[in-house]
Symmetry: C2
Subunit: 660 residues, 2 copies
Amino acid sequence: MITKYQYGNPIETDAVVKDIPLSYGKLPFFNVTNGNTTFSYVLSENDIVYGLGEQVRGINKRGWKYKSYNFDNPNHQEDTNSLYGAHNFLLISGEKMFGVFFDYAGLIEFDIGYTDHKMLIVTADDENMKVYILTGETELDIVKQFREIIGQSYIAPKWAFGYGQSRWGYKTEEDIREVADKHEKYNIPLDSIYLDIDYMERYKDFTVDTQRFKDLKKLQEEMLKRGIHLVPIIDAGVKIEKGYAVYEEGIKYDYFCKDEDGENFVGAVWPGRVHFPDFMKPETRRWFGDQYAVLLDMGIDGFWNDMNEPAIFYTQKRLESVMRRVNELSKQNMGIDEFFEFKGLVEGISNNIEDYNTFFHDINGKKVAHKKVHNLYGYQMTRAAYEAFDRMEKNKRILMFSRSSYIGAHRYGGIWHGDNKSWWSHLLMNMQMLPALNMAGFIFSGADTCGFGSNATEDLVMRWLQLSIFTPLMRNHSAIGTREQELYQFQNVADTKKIIEIRYGLIPYIYSEYMKAVLNNDMMFKPLAFDFRDDILAKATEDQILLGNEVMITPIYKQNAIGRYVYLPEEMMMVRMTSLDQVETKILSKGHHYIQAKLNELVFFIRHGKKIPIAKKAKNTAELHTQKLLFLGWKDASYLYYEDDGISRKYDLEKNTKII
Amino acid sequence: MITKYQYGNPIETDAVVKDIPLSYGKLPFFNVTNGNTTFSYVLSENDIVYGLGEQVRGINKRGWKYKSYNFDNPNHQEDTNSLYGAHNFLLISGEKMFGVFFDYAGLIEFDIGYTDHKMLIVTADDENMKVYILTGETELDIVKQFREIIGQSYIAPKWAFGYGQSRWGYKTEEDIREVADKHEKYNIPLDSIYLDIDYMERYKDFTVDTQRFKDLKKLQEEMLKRGIHLVPIIDAGVKIEKGYAVYEEGIKYDYFCKDEDGENFVGAVWPGRVHFPDFMKPETRRWFGDQYAVLLDMGIDGFWNDMNEPAIFYTQKRLESVMRRVNELSKQNMGIDEFFEFKGLVEGISNNIEDYNTFFHDINGKKVAHKKVHNLYGYQMTRAAYEAFDRMEKNKRILMFSRSSYIGAHRYGGIWHGDNKSWWSHLLMNMQMLPALNMAGFIFSGADTCGFGSNATEDLVMRWLQLSIFTPLMRNHSAIGTREQELYQFQNVADTKKIIEIRYGLIPYIYSEYMKAVLNNDMMFKPLAFDFRDDILAKATEDQILLGNEVMITPIYKQNAIGRYVYLPEEMMMVRMTSLDQVETKILSKGHHYIQAKLNELVFFIRHGKKIPIAKKAKNTAELHTQKLLFLGWKDASYLYYEDDGISRKYDLEKNTKII
C-alpha cells in the first residue's frame, strides 16, 4: 500500500508518474518536527536500512550520514556523504518494515544511526516536498510497488550489453582505430568504443574536431562494419563563443540559466566559461535534445551525458573573490589559521554549494534558485535527450546513460556509478551499489570497470572484470594521466580476454534478466536477505548479491587473495570457469565455505534447482548465437527466458518470454 | 647470514650499529643496473613480499608501488605511495627466502609486482647506499638477525601502556581537567592526557601559553596525583620571532638548515614562518635535546615529536611563484588546462619535493641537500630528544614517540602510525602495519585509535578499541573540527569502558610480550605464516595476526558486521569477553570458522597449549595488581612472564623473567 503526503508547495519533480491521492493527517512511522523539515524514526537494534541508490558504504546503510546533493567527487571514500545521484528512497526492514520516498529536489540529509545508532533522522532544507510511505508483505514487494509508481525503467539496446572500451585521452580517430585493431588482434570481443571530451572541438557540445576526427560519420560507418558502436560524450555546459551555433541559439531563444541580475549565468568547465541550459524549461529540453541530431545523423546510436550535476570548475564571481582574499593572505606570515583559510578557499572553488544559490531556473514562469532543484539537473538533461530520441528515432533504441540522476531519470536513461578509482574498495562498492540502484529504478548501470582514476594493476583488472561481467553496462574506462587500462596493456591478455568471452556467453542470461526486471518492475540485483528473509547470516552478508532468481555473485575484492569466504543460504551449485569451455561445477551445502580461486578463475553460484542459458563465444553481440544455447545448472530445471531483437522499441513480455 | 654491500659514497645513517665487513662482487638475488640505482628480482608466482614498515595495503605488499619519502598525508588511501616513515626492509618468502635492507636516506621506490606481477624493482635516486642481504632458516630468523644489527628498540615506561586520551583542540587547562574528570566520572581507566599544539604560546616549541595553561608544572603535579601523565607535543620547526630564546640561540650558534644562498632556510608551519633545526649536526641535536629540560623540569615525563618529515605548509619562494602564476591564470578564461594547472599549483604548495632540494644540511662540514637525507629528519630529531633524556634522566624512562622515522629511530623512541582517519579501512590497516613495523624495529607503536581525521561513529569506536587494546600505544586521538571522540561523547560508555578495563587486564601480558620482543630482538606481532610456514591459508591470511606466541588477534573491521570469518591454523581456544569478568572460552578446531560477535563482544584466540596472564580491573597502571594474576588459556600451560618496575632503565631479562 502506498500513501502520499505533501508539505508546503513542492516543486514538481515528475519522479512519480502514477496518480496517487493525497493523504492527510499524521505521517506514519515518523515523528515530523521543525516545520516539517525533520523526520525521525526510532530504529530497533537489528533493523536494516536499505536504499539511497548511489552512495558509499555497504548494502545496509546504517551507521553513516548521507546527503542528496549531486556532486562530482571521483575521490570518494568511506566518509563521503554524496555522489553523483540523488535517490531518496529508503527501505527499513526489521521490527517494522516500510519504504519511504522523499520526493524533494533540494538538499536533504539522511542520518542513519550516525549521530545515534538508534535513530534515523532525515532533514531537508525546507518543507516543500512529497513523502510516499510504502508498506507490503516483503521487501521486494515494497520495491516493486515503488517501481510501479515511478514508471518503467529505460531500455538499452542489446549491443550496449557488449564490452565497451573507453578512455579520456583517445585524441584522434587513429587512436580509436588502434583500440579496435588491438582488440581484434588479441581476439578480445568488443561492441563499443567511447569518445570522451577529446573528440569535440575545444569541448563544445555537438561539435567534432575535424583536425583530429576527420570524418566521424565515416568512422562510425567503418566501426559499425566491424561491429563497434562509437559512443560520444555530451556535457552540460555550453561554451560561450561568438559564432558557435548552439551558444548563439541558446542566447537568442533564452535557453540558459540566469544569474541574480537576470543575465545569463557564467560558470566554467572544460571549455572555460559556459552557460548552463535551463533544462527545467520544456522548450530548452526540446531545443537541447534536437542538437543530438547532429550526431544521430552520422549514424551514432549511443551517448553518455556528463558533468550534469552540474559540475562547475569555478564561477567568475567566486574566482575573483577567492583571488582577492588569497592575495591578501599570501602577503601575511601565514600560520595555521591563515594557511588553512588559503587552502580551503582554493579547494572550495569547485562545485561550491553557495554558487548553486546564485543562479536560477524558470519553472512555469517562476524564478527558482538552482539549489532548490539541484538534484534534478542531470535528470532533466537526460530527459531532454531521451525525448528527442523518441521524436527522432521512434523505433530504434538509443544508448543513453548519465552521470547525474534523480529518481525519474531512470525512465530516460541508465547511469554509470560516476567517476571512481582503480581501488579494491571501489570494486566492492560497485557490487554493493547495484541493489540500491535497482530499488531506485536504475537497471541499466555499471561502474567504470577497473577504475577511472588512479592506476590499475593487472590483478585488480582481472578481479574487477570477474564482477562486471554480470552488470548490464560493462565499460572499461580510465582517466588521462593514469596507467593505460585497455586489456592489451597488461601482460596476461590470454586470461582477461577469456573473461570477456565469458561475458558474451552470459549475455543471453543477463539481457533476459535485465528485460524481465525492467518490464516487471523487478530487481535484477538483490541483497541475499530479500530472498532469505529469516536468515540472519543472509541479512548480514554485504559482499555477495543475487542476480535474478538463479545466480549468486561472490566477487573476490582483495589483493593477493587466493580465495574468499562465501555464505550459502541454501544448497547451491558452485561454478568455476577459466574460460567459456573450461567449466567445473560442484554442489555445495548450505552454510559457510572457503572457496579458493586463482586469479584467472571466475567463481559464482547457481541457486538450487535453477539453470541459466549460456551462449557460445562471439566477437560481439551481433554475432552472438542465441538460437543454440547451452545451460549451466540443475539438469531438470527450467528457465524463463526473455529474448527480442535487442533494438526495436516494442516490448512484448509475453510473446518474447518462454520457458526453456 | 648477513652480507653488506656498498655503492658510491653513502651518507652514514647510523641505522645499523653492528660492524659488518663489506662484501664485494655481485649482489646476491638482484640484478643491479642503471649505475647501481636499479635492483630487480624475479618473483615466483607464490612469493610473498613482507616488510616496508609504515605503508598502505596488506601484510603481503605485492601488487603496488611504494616510495620511501616521508610525507604528511593523513588522507591516505589504497593508492597512496608513502606515509610518515621510511623503512626500507623487505623480506621475500617463497621459492627463495631472504631479507634485504636498502640503507639509503633519499627517495627510493619499491615496485612490488605493480608494473609486472613477476618483478620486484627497487629504484633509488642515486647509487650512494649500503645494501644488506640476509638469509636464514625462517622468516623470523631473518628478522631477528636484522633486528640484531640495527640495535635494541626503545623501551617505553609502563605507564605508557595505559589508555591515553588526546585531541587537537584541548585549549585550556580546564579542558584537560574536564577530560580527567569525565574519565573519572564514567570510571574509564586512564594513564595519560596528550597536549597537542594548543598548549604552546603561538606554536613555539618549548613554550607554554600561560593565559590558557596558567601553571603547567602544577597541572602535571595535580594530574600525576590522579595517576595521569601529561604528554606534550614538540614540532620540528622553530618560529622566527625576535626575542624567542630558542630562535635566538639557534641563530646565534648556527643550528638551522640553510638555503641556497647560505641564509637560514625559511619554511612555514603552524606558527607561520620557521627555521628548521639541522638535526644532522650533533651540536644541533644536543642543543635541541637540551630544550626538553624546560618541560622535564616541570615533571613532564613523556613527549611526542610531530611534523618532523618535516611537513612544510609552504616555502616563501614557492608561495610567491605560485601566487604570480595563479594570478596570471585567473585572469584568463581558464578551461581544462589552465584550471588544472591553477588547482595543481595550490595543491602542490605543501611538502613539495622540489622544496626539499632547496635547503641544506651540514654533515661533517659538507653541504648536503635535504632531499638526500630527507628520510632521516624525524629520526635525528627523536635521537636529539632521547640522547638528552639519557643525559638528564639517567635512570628514568621517558615516553617518546615520533611521527616521522627511519630504521635506527627505533632505538630512540616509538612511533605512532601517523595521522589517519576514522575509517573502517584504517582500522584494518592499523593491524596490518604492526608486523611490518616490528620487522623494522618499531615495537612501541599503535595507531590513533578510532581515527584522527574524519568523524567516528560509536560502532567504529567499539570495534577499533577491540583491536587497539592489544597494541603497546593505545591513544584515542582526534582532530579539531571532527566529532568529539572521547568515549563519554558516545551513548554506550558502559560498554566502551569495559573494553578499556579489559585493556588494563591485558597489560601484564602485553607489557611482558613487548619487553621480551625488545630484549630478544623478537617480533611482538607476526603474520600467521611466520609460525605456520607450510600452511597456504595462513600465508594468505591478511586480517588476523599473532601476538607473541600465545594470542591470535581477529578484529572485526566492517560496519554492521555481526561476526567474521576466522581461519585457525591449529586448534585454538576462542575467548569471548564483554568485560573483564564476563569471559567465555571454547576450543575450536583447526580450519575455517564463522564467529558471531556482538558490538560489545571482544573475540580473540589463545593458541593451543598456551595461556596468558590477566590482571584485575584497575584505574590506571599505577594501581595495576600484577602480583595476583589470573590466567586465561590451557590449564596445564606455562607462560614465560617478564615483569619489572616499568620505569627504571635497567633491564635484566633473566632476573625479570619467570615461568608461571
